[in-house]
Symmetry: D3
Subunit: 248 residues, 6 copies
Amino acid sequence: MRIRVINPNTTAAMTALIGESARLVAAPGTIVDAVNPAMGPASIESHYDEALSVPGLLAEIAKGEAEGVDGYVIACFGDPGLDAARELARGPVIGIAEAAMQSASHLGRRFSVVTTLARTAGRAWELAERYGMERFCANVHACEIPVLELEDPKARRVIADACREAVAADGSDAVVLGCAGMADLCEFLTDEVGVPVVDGVAAATLTVQSLVTMKLRKSGRGEFAAPLPKTYVGLLADFGIENKEAQA
Amino acid sequence: MRIRVINPNTTAAMTALIGESARLVAAPGTIVDAVNPAMGPASIESHYDEALSVPGLLAEIAKGEAEGVDGYVIACFGDPGLDAARELARGPVIGIAEAAMQSASHLGRRFSVVTTLARTAGRAWELAERYGMERFCANVHACEIPVLELEDPKARRVIADACREAVAADGSDAVVLGCAGMADLCEFLTDEVGVPVVDGVAAATLTVQSLVTMKLRKSGRGEFAAPLPKTYVGLLADFGIENKEAQA
Amino acid sequence: MRIRVINPNTTAAMTALIGESARLVAAPGTIVDAVNPAMGPASIESHYDEALSVPGLLAEIAKGEAEGVDGYVIACFGDPGLDAARELARGPVIGIAEAAMQSASHLGRRFSVVTTLARTAGRAWELAERYGMERFCANVHACEIPVLELEDPKARRVIADACREAVAADGSDAVVLGCAGMADLCEFLTDEVGVPVVDGVAAATLTVQSLVTMKLRKSGRGEFAAPLPKTYVGLLADFGIENKEAQA
Amino acid sequence: MRIRVINPNTTAAMTALIGESARLVAAPGTIVDAVNPAMGPASIESHYDEALSVPGLLAEIAKGEAEGVDGYVIACFGDPGLDAARELARGPVIGIAEAAMQSASHLGRRFSVVTTLARTAGRAWELAERYGMERFCANVHACEIPVLELEDPKARRVIADACREAVAADGSDAVVLGCAGMADLCEFLTDEVGVPVVDGVAAATLTVQSLVTMKLRKSGRGEFAAPLPKTYVGLLADFGIENKEAQA
Amino acid sequence: MRIRVINPNTTAAMTALIGESARLVAAPGTIVDAVNPAMGPASIESHYDEALSVPGLLAEIAKGEAEGVDGYVIACFGDPGLDAARELARGPVIGIAEAAMQSASHLGRRFSVVTTLARTAGRAWELAERYGMERFCANVHACEIPVLELEDPKARRVIADACREAVAADGSDAVVLGCAGMADLCEFLTDEVGVPVVDGVAAATLTVQSLVTMKLRKSGRGEFAAPLPKTYVGLLADFGIENKEAQA
Amino acid sequence: MRIRVINPNTTAAMTALIGESARLVAAPGTIVDAVNPAMGPASIESHYDEALSVPGLLAEIAKGEAEGVDGYVIACFGDPGLDAARELARGPVIGIAEAAMQSASHLGRRFSVVTTLARTAGRAWELAERYGMERFCANVHACEIPVLELEDPKARRVIADACREAVAADGSDAVVLGCAGMADLCEFLTDEVGVPVVDGVAAATLTVQSLVTMKLRKSGRGEFAAPLPKTYVGLLADFGIENKEAQA
């Protein structure tokens, strides 16, 4: 089984970190690739960044389909492009917010999300609602560390404090990490905070692996059928071509 | 006051039709431009098409900001890129699904949506929820006419039948047209169906006009503040540059 | 086009203020009358007051219908008598809570309501739910200034403070003013608070104007059809007569 | 203990029928009066009628307060004036829709409402939501018999058929009768339909009796405190006076 | 009429206290028994305790059915075994959380629940949702006194403080007591706290009495029909037999 | 890693079938035991059966804890005893309804549930709500085959028809099987119905495996902490003892 974990931003160091976190939990027979798009923003911290990460992400899905990949993880907590990716792929596509929230829903009554910048909290709530996880989400907290500074040695301390304060304020049973760039802090934070801390990269990788094991993939008709063949022009002219391939 | 109506697909004939519908309702002092992106799909009938219409749409917003446009309409019933556009623009940005549903909410207890292809119904429901309009939406019905065939003379008859059946099945008080390409059918359909029929292009143009008249625009901080300056690479490298301008 | 703005309380000074706020935003061709009922309470600060403002309000609607008025604004934040008025009127009737909340929903993720007395907050929440705006409403705050003391020069300072505290506590993107008597403070408060402040009188006037422009009015059948002819007795005997006229 | 059952319309025959239904279930020590207002509509079949029934209803509450009545039933399925009445009364005030739906919620997973005219169904849904009973309400069905024709001997057959069809269509466990004028049909319908049929007049009378027995009445502060003293003018000038008395 | 109040824990002193509270409010003709199971936990303070209280509770229902009991109260705020009991009994079965929350919903806009241990708050929220009472529930507060220490003379002071703080924090109109063991404190607390305080034992007893008076009982078919005859083995082998009797 | 799959009914043949389905999907290093309780009903088709299956289920969890089991599946679509089991177990406990619905939520917009008897549909809806999956659940359909007759060769045809009709009626993207006894039909039904069919036994086994792999288990405090030590009497006296062990 081959799972492709797509970091939707264009920062290779973060892609490497994400790949490691995914491989740590994958079963022996599962091959995990980590890739990032050739176009788009260096980090995703706004609706604008998110929207512009999607074409590159979809190009990676199209490439994966050509290579026979079995399933995909979208490794950004905004789960950008999830629906479009599901139309394009034959196998499962799972976002890390989706998988992390579902995993945390098994650990108690409610979880707190700890994310990077406060301006992304609205999106996290939107996803919680979409996945039916709003009832499990006590609140969304920001540590105000930009995505590309998460690897700074001081960051982990700030994040641990944010997690502890979130759990105390919310009376929650678990923490969901609100950024793929925090994936490697999961064990450290679990020890520091005293409640389970969920990393979406691991959770999504295992969700894809489970769905592929059960041979579960979208039906070929309806809302998530392959996109209709159609002319694309300008910078995105090539996307029309990928589209026709996906149909074949 | 200058309002820009953006047709997010790349079909110029549809842009012209949309512009006419918007100008029909605008107040004397309001200048309405209708434009479409230089890149992207010829029509939008899937999540994939929608996602790929957004970069071109955002480029039009950025251009509008440079030209001092006061507000924008996104003239596709999926309201693609709405949040990203709101970050980028100083004035209001309104989607036609948003405006049409809100207008219809004043006309009775519930409305029916009549859209093009059934595969887009899920997105319509998603938007209804997001705008708080789910409680007013009786159901979403498809007439199964592709967007680019709406101008076929036979289409208006099929759509009228779909509207009539929708109202009968739902016991609804109004119809919301689920595609910008139906904007010119509004009056014909109102006569045929016997309940008010709402076109989102007109509704959104008037909503923007009202917000600009009231001098209401997003606050400069928080979730919808201008996107952070950031490097963009590959095909989308230019979007980093637009971004910095939006900040200035 | 003729729009009638009805202040449902019987205080003429407040009616004048409301009329001015409405006229400030109306388009050149739109005539705006401001009226108040001949019977009922001097101000509306309870469910009791609200219920007893409705007969007078309905009498004004009936009079407007006889005079060919195109649409109505109900200028009290409890939106009293809205459904009854919609049955009676041929054109649109819009409440200021309804319009203000819808307008604010375009300005960010959530708004705060700042109202007069805390005892009216429950009604504001009820309306937010009814209009589908609950998800946009962060909280309802009271400044504890009675309606008829809003024009006191000290009031505007207290209200500005309440708005600022509301925005800080809620992390909201906009403020909705919870009383028609605050309509003239809108610009002052926007400057003071630093986020957009929405006045429902202006918003409702423009919503009515937009609906009339689009020729959108309730369908003639179903829940909002004209009330059935019926005998009314006692003090309200005349209301049976108005009723028959509405049917004609 | 003295309970006053108020029929909010002005038809004495219906008041008598309602009084009998209430007295049938009251405990030995409970005195039940049935009254109707001196002003307002002969029957309530629209939002307009409902709004105009409220002043007369409130006058009855004020009279009851002067006479030391312990609690009140509002015997119309629209529960008109409920919040205003609660401000005015010291003891409990219960609407028949409220009580009937709560009683039916104990009898199975979902109930069907069978009401008079279809145009009142929207109000029934609104009340179901308000009371938290929406989740128990399978659907609202109309038998299209006007309120004042319910006593026609043919009506009971039509209503029985409507109940049976409602239960079959909804797969529901109980029926809630949607009009006080159906109170005397309860036993007949239970036999005919084969599921429990709930009459709100009986249910509300017993709910008031229970609350009075438990000495439960609203707190004297907050939203439901007595209305503030205030000038009322015109036809309703007397209502200002009643108001002051309620405060004393 | 004979009502059986079942204390689902096995502590006889608490059963006696509960019986007294129920008898205080029952009508003259109503006989109230208070019983507790012969097996299960001494107090209920976890999901585990609750689950294990149910077999003994169901045995009491089966016994009551054999003796012709008309209706039952489940006197533990987790309302354990309610659905199963409803299948088994011919007459109404009401939980004290269910009845207390419904009663409190008539007293204002929102109530606060004050319960024993914080670990039971999740269950209280779950029940609030199930009964449609979530919208009336401002919050659930714990006084952290174990069930079997509620009779300690110091407990009533701690509980009074918790109620007062709950009302202040929530701005609520009433308090719902979150444990049958607090039933005797109801009057004392109402005086102390200044808002109505609702005891579920009294409320549920009166709800059962009302339903029996109205001859309302579940329909004999569907989800709450008698359980199907079926083999039970091991410690619970006898429950198969009770089952068959219930069918007869 | 050792996962215990508990069939909560006492029918050994069904336990064997369930064990096979679980082992089919488990990773190489995962040991799967399938067990059933020593007491309780032969099949679970009512709230009564469900409630009485729980003590035996909890005894199996206690035994598993003593043996060092890493996680548990509750293999009945009512997910009986889930919360109590979570208190008792140190590792994850997952119900098959929970896991099946979550898995199906990734496959499209909505799924249909196809269950055994119609009387269990209410419970399925209740669980859908609890897990946040209500928004994904189009409807619950019954094939009216009792649990213990699912292995009849004719049953699979009836179930296939029910699935096909459910998908057609609901326009759904997937089917969730509403009984552990259907686990072996999953592949057959996927072929027959043309949309993915989800078996909860497989889904729950993989969810437990994933959570154990991520080292995610409930926090030791709060609602799901081990049950408090406490006296249990009568037939269930031994459960007090198990309790103390769980604490150690």
